[in-house]
Amino acid sequence: DAMVIQNPRYQVTQFGKPVTLSCSQTLNHNVMYWYQQKSSQAPKLLFHYYDKDFNNEADTPDNFQSRRPNTSFCFLDIRSPGLGDAAMYLCATSILGGAQYFGPGTRLTVL
């Protein structure tokens, strides 16, 4: 019954080594979101897709990119991870105007 799936659940990478996080959904929602959440903080929106329309937050670093090849999948690429990028990365989906449903997250560690 998993609805929003994120892989991997834990990712360890080295400083500067590119990493890709994936998200898939079985809800057929047209909006998909990527958030960064650091310890004891609210999730911070990085970007979102409405269908194939990409919406980047103004303060999202260029180091973060995203791809949505189809309705079900969305990827987060971190081109050159720094120590400050260590965080939990959350994927969420919604229909337009509806509640967002979150995946379990990928915890990224940068060594």
Partner: protein, 116 residues
């Protein structure tokens, strides 16, 4: 700018105590309102939501929230908390900022600790 304020950053209660967590938002247009809960080590889960209609909304696990439009508030309540309610609670507002986008504005969260 749109914002959500949660005034209680850390709440400590004993089991069976009543709970009320405050949430105020700043947004002039039509809003949808949400409470999300994040149990230790788990992902964000939708606790309840308000889109329209009865301003008193009932959610899962005995939680409820009341939308008071005149006060721009959406406070979360539970008459009797349990140890298992220990979690981080986030209030969020969804407003239409552009033709085809919806963004959740989150509050900073309230950490609830319930002791047996």
């Amino acid at each position: 700018a749109q914002s959500v304020s949660q005034h209680n950053h850390h709440v400590i209660l004993s089991e069976a105590a009543s709970l009320e967590l405050g949430c105020n938002y700043s947004y002039g247009g039509t809003v949808n309102l949400f409470w999300y809960v994040q149990y230790p080590g788990q992902h964000l889960q939708l606790l309840l939501k308000y889109f329209s209609g009865d301003p008193l909304v009932k959610g899962i696990k005995g939680f409820e929230a009341e939308f008071i439009k005149s006060k721009f508030s959406f406070n979360l309540r539970k008459p009797s908390v349990q140890w298992s309610d220990t979690a981080e609670y986030f209030c969020a507002v969804n407003g239409r900022f552009a033709y085809n986008t919806d963004k959740l504005i989150f509050g900073t969260g309230t950490r609830l600790q319930v002791f047996p």
